[in-house]
């Protein structure tokens, strides 16, 4: 997070003198941006007005230059306090008055200096080590007794998202969910982003990974081939899923069915309901999905593509899982940690056809990561937005159509 911010106060007869306009113009002309936090306008000519202005700039030097330029016009830097810490009273327990994070870029003030909080994520606490060399958002469960946690609201500030330079669907940063809006331009914008990200990923640039979190409906609905193509062509770099997506994907390879239905014939196959159990049992016998692919037992499909492309897969289990497959993390807290560990490199998140994994992933993503939630059920993107992931663009459509159209736009031969 490289945005630098300072809040200033301007008071007096700042409206009719055009002083407020002048200060705001100076900020913009110098290349900064601002948010007018509060404006109080005097009710009579004699009564003064005042404004609180948060100024943002891309560098500390530019911010200092802007502050220097507006101070002669009466803009005074707001008196701000350092943040306060308290020690965690026990392992896994925050101090009572702990500051609960949002998923927006956040800074805390230590010894008069604003420091970015690393690994920002909603609903965590902020850990600061003795030397303040580590300032990181941490989940409640991982805190150790005696670690310093930020308490209260003093010295904590949230930096509003800047509109991205790209004038695409992510620029609106608001999740309007409707089945009745055209999807074409949204998918085209996602494809354009993925095209750019693949280039950046090949140049090993930061935050260039595309994350896909998906449910088994991708297999049932017929989106499997498109997703395999996207993985093999280097458009997807991280996969989050559960036991089911992996099991049905490999079931399709071994038996040609998905949950017992013939994928091509579209009929229930005799004893087909056993196929996913036999698949899971077979992989358990081999020891791991990687080994199953390496030994040639599993030849095609999403899991095979991930293994061959070196795409990390985090599989999180649930209480209704069969098996589960080797590699499925059944401890939810450990699963969250495993997902959290790969979030920092993500530059685009596609949450496709899974309520559980979409919400779970949304909870872990900083607001700065462009996010798309695709589901036939409008309540999924709505739920995601209601739980705070306001940056997610909702698409009400089925997974197969989405993935096929996306792959087509990215060059998959039809």
């Amino acid at each position: 997070m490289s945005l630098h911010q300072e809040t200033v106060l301007l008071s007096g007869h700042i409206i009719d003198s055009l002083l407020l306009a002048k200060v705001l113009d100076i900020i913009l002309m110098m290349g900064g941006t601002f948010d007018l936090k509060d404006v109080h306008i005097g009710k009579t000519r004699e009564e003064p007005s005042r404004a609180r202005i948060a100024i943002q700039a891309a560098s500390k030097a530019l911010l200092d230059d802007i502050l220097k330029a507006i101070q002669p016009h009466g803009a005074a830097i707001e008196r701000e306090a350092d943040c306060r810490f308290e020690s965690a009273p026990a392992d896994g327990i925050f101090p009572d008055d702990f500051y609960a994070t949002t998923h927006l870029p956040t800074q805390i003030r230590i010894h008069g200096r604003w420091v970015d909080v690393d690994r920002i994520e909603m609903d965590l606490g902020i850990l600061v080590d003795e030397q303040a060399s580590v300032v990181r958002a941490v989940p409640m469960g991982t805190v150790r007794r005696g670690e310093r946690i930020v308490v209260g609201r003093d010295g904590v500030r949230i930096i509003p998202l800047q509109r991205p330079r790209e004038r695409d669907v992510f620029g609106f940063m608001e999740s309007q969910v409707s089945a009745e809006r055209p999807h074409g331009h949204v998918i085209a914008d996602i494809a354009a982003r993925m095209h750019q990200l693949r280039q950046r990923h090949r140049q090993r640039q930061a935050e260039s990974n595309v994350l896909l979190a998906g449910g088994p409906a991708i297999i049932h609905a017929g989106g499997r081939e498109a997703l395999v193509w996207l993985i093999e062509e280097g458009f997807v770099h991280v996969l989050f899923c559960g036991n089911a997506l992996a099991a049905h994907d490999m079931e399709a390879d071994l038996y040609g069915t998905s949950l017992g239905y013939g994928l091509t014939a579209g009929r229930a196959v005799p004893h087909g309901h056993e196929h996913h159990l036999r698949t899971i049992n077979r992989i358990r016998a081999i020891g791991s999905i990687e080994q199953a692919v390496a030994s040639g037992v599993v030849k095609q499909g999403i899991m095979a593509a991930c293994v061959r492309q070196g795409v990390p897969v985090v599989m999180a289990g649930t209480i209704r899982d069969d098996g589960p497959l080797p590699g499925v993390i059944t401890d939810s807290v450990r699963a969250q940690d495993a997902m959290r560990a790969v979030i920092p490199g993500v530059g685009l998140a596609l949450l496709v056809a899974s309520t559980l994994h979409s919400i779970a992933t949304g909870n872990l993503l900083p607001a700065t990561v462009p996010t798309v939630c695709v589901d036939v059920n409008p309540s999924v993107p709505t739920k995601l937005a209601d739980r705070g992931s306001f940056q997610a663009v909702g698409l009400v459509m089925d997974a197969a159509s989405f993935l096929s159209e996306l792959a087509r736009l990215l060059g998959r031969p039809v």
Partner: protein
């Protein structure tokens, strides 16, 4: 009855350079300066009919003569100036004791809050204007505005030659405004236009502005201004003012003219404000 605070130019001279007009190499003809000062006082007393309050000059304070910078006076309250430059900060104590000795309630500003009196705060009865950036600090105005319950429109002075508001801006008793627009930026010019209707604005040409035409003293329909500003005199006469031009070129070497002597205190602050 208008009163003016004045200080004889016994020790006037150029002993430092704190504005673009001052040159140490530019020698003041002291005898001539004294003559011009007495000429101005004669006009004030006899032609305009104001009462003069005299301050005792102090050796080593050459600019004490420019009493407009003493502070501002509203009714019986005096706000004493806080000068930006150390050379003039030594005057503060003398202005302060004069106000105290004459029964004014004295208000002082925080040490770092520069405010150069009636040099930078002028106005009409309902609206005051504050010049800032060159000498006064804009932060002084909200304080004064609250103290006196008046609107103060801050105006940035963008030309170093017009370092005090009273060098380029002169509200007149009839609601007219004598001023030099290029001394302000477009924001300031728009703010002035919002408060002073177009037909009340008397913009002076640059030649006159550089002879300090705006550093004039207005009492009723009398306007006292430096000589050599014929266009400005015509402008004023056309609006029904009676002009009195006084040669003050010895004082202009120091960047001051007629208004600079009037002691913000006595005159402009009480009459115009």
């Amino acid at each position: 009855m208008s009163r003016l605070l004045i200080c004889p130019p016994d020790f006037f001279g150029i002993e430092y350079e704190i504005n673009p007009w001052m040159r140490l190499s530019n020698r003041v003809d002291h005898e001539q300066a004294v003559k011009q000062w007495h000429g101005l006082m004669r006009v004030f007393e006899h032609d305009v009919g104001v009462t003069l309050e005299r301050m005792t000059p102090v050796a080593g304070l050459p600019d004490l003569v420019f009493t407009a910078n003493a502070g501002i006076v509203v009714d019986r309250t005096a706000v004493v100036s806080r000068f930006r430059y150390p050379e003039r900060q030594r005057e503060e104590v003398h202005f302060e004791s004069w106000f105290r000795d004459h029964g004014y309630e004295v208000v002082t500003l925080d040490k770092e809050l520069y405010f150069e009196g009636a040099g930078d705060l002028l106005g009409f009865p309902d609206c005051w204007f504050g010049g800032y950036r060159q000498r006064s600090d804009i932060r002084a105005f909200p304080f004064l505005s609250e103290r006196f319950r008046r609107e103060i429109i801050p105006l940035e002075l963008v030309d170093a030659r017009f370092y005090h508001l009273d060098t380029c801006f002169c509200p007149l008793s009839g609601g007219d405004l004598l001023y030099f627009p290029p001394a302000f930026d477009p924001y300031g010019q728009s703010a002035i236009a919002q408060r002073v209707p177009k037909d009340r604005q008397l913009p002076v040409p640059e030649d006159d502005a550089l002879r300090f035409a705006c550093n004039a003293v207005c009492v009723g329909k009398h306007v006292v201004l430096p000589s050599g500003c014929p266009t400005t005199e015509h402008l004023l006469q056309a609006r029904g003012y009676r002009t009195h031009s006084v040669p003050l070129d010895e004082f202009m070497k120091s960047g001051g003219s007629a208004k600079c002597f009037d002691a913000g205190a006595g005159l402009v602050c009480r009459e115009a404000m």
